[in-house]
């Protein structure tokens, strides 16, 4: 009745895991290897926590965990990995943007449009090739509400929402790393910008406006945009850069 066992199990979870369950958001920067403790804690959630109130947000196992695991692969264990996630959805007041009245005509009596901006995943990783990768996943929601009166005098309220997902990836290269335009251009829906800084560093930016897809396909969508940045640095595709140890 009082969830004593559940409460004990909940208190044994990783602090960021508990914060994610209670507030549906967290923001932290840790060495890459230390994120494994959070992933292990999240992996145990299904088996230990049964209380509905403490279930994980739906993006956590399907998007957050895969993205952490993938970035960890490209990082030294001590490299800093920052994750800022807010999985409360776009309907919280601080994500609500300006609202405006729409011009309407009979039988619609009133119409308004509200824009919501939901940056639900921000990642920053120091990769092992010396570059710094920033990834932002933002959902922009347009919500339109109408009030209309039919001929019989009934009043009805209608609403329509349209969601667009914007994925932006920025890679700041280390000094002296060469940038080469790939032979094949990026797909038309993917915008790429290359900026050469005065200090000898280059900054690559890729952004795309996409339709929201199912959770399991979201990491692929994010990584497709991010992967474009690695086509511009030829050394990134050459594993020999790591000077592997050989034997005979």
């Amino acid at each position: 009745m009082f969830w004593r066992k559940q409460r004990r199990a909940f208190e044994s979870l990783h602090p960021l895991h508990r914060q994610l369950v209670e507030e549906h958001r967290f923001s932290a920067t840790l060495p890459a290897a230390e994120w494994s403790a959070l992933v292990a804690s999240l992996a145990s959630h299904e088996g230990t926590i049964t209380r509905r109130r403490w279930r994980l947000p739906r993006h956590a196992p399907s998007v957050l965990v895969p993205m952490i695991r993938i970035l960890q692969e490209d990082m030294e264990p001590g490299g800093a990995l920052g994750v800022s996630t807010d999985l409360r959805g776009p309907n919280v007041p601080e994500k609500r943007g300006p609202s405006r009245q729409l011009n309407v005509r009979y039988p619609v009596r009133r119409g308004s449009e509200t824009l919501k901006v939901d940056p639900w995943l921000l990642l920053r990783a120091e990769l092992r090739d010396g570059s710094v990768l920033d990834v932002a996943v933002v959902e922009r929601v347009r919500e339109r509400r109408f009030t209309k009166t039919s001929r019989s005098g009934k009043t009805k309220h209608k609403s329509k929402t349209k969601t667009v997902r914007v994925v932006q990836a920025t890679r700041r290269l280390p000094k002296g790393m060469a940038v080469r335009q790939p032979a094949q251009p990026p797909p038309p829906w993917l915008a790429v910008r290359v900026q050469q800084k005065e200090n000898g560093r280059a900054v690559l930016r890729a952004s795309a406006k996409l339709h929201p897809v199912a959770d399991v396909q979201t990491p692929g969508q994010i990584l497709t945009v991010t992967g474009e940045l690695f086509r511009w640095t030829p050394a990134a595709s050459a594993p020999s850069a790591a000077s592997p140890r050989r034997t005979r």
Partner: protein, 152 residues
């Protein structure tokens, strides 16, 4: 992650063979840990982190599970993601570049290279493991290891 630590530079070397598994997602590199043993199927050396509980390397274990909590998940996901994005970028050969490590696998042992044809069976990581028939190398060479660690 639970993995055997590398010995300090210049210290005693417990095992001469390095893990040959390709690590990373976008920034690909060979694993820098020492191998814990050969894969029971293809004979390539792999560390304890990359050898599955059944003794298979990531390639031979069918690229792991679909569960992102599983530590072998990233290998399989990298392969499927690369396969998908070659069509998105319109560049079929983008991820199929070979490096010196891969080329060494095809050199004959008498040619003076630091990797003979029969030394490491499937040293080509993601790219060429399927081509090897396993008939002329593998675990035999593993047993005789220790006579030629070369840092390239």
């Amino acid at each position: 992650m639970n993995m055997p630590p590398m010995p300090p530079q210049g210290g005693p070397v417990p095992g001469p063979v390095a893990c040959s598994v390709l690590t990373g997602f976008f920034v690909l590199r060979r694993c820098d840990r020492y191998a814990a043993g050969p894969c029971v199927r293809c004979g390539r050396p792999a560390c304890g982190h990359h050898l599955g509980p059944d003794g298979h390397c990531p390639e031979c274990s069918g690229y792991g599970s679909r569960n992102p909590y599983d530590r072998s998940w990233t290998h399989g996901y990298r392969r499927s993601h690369y396969h998908h994005t070659t069509t998105v970028y319109g560049n079929d050969g983008w991820y199929s570049s070979f490096d010196q490590y891969d080329r060494d696998s095809f050199e004959s042992s008498g040619s003076g290279g630091d990797g003979g044809a029969g030394e490491w069976a499937a040293a080509s990581g993601d790219f060429g493991g399927d081509d090897w028939d396993g008939s002329d190398s593998g675990s035999d060479d593993w047993d005789s290891g220790g006579d030629g660690l070369v840092d390239s």
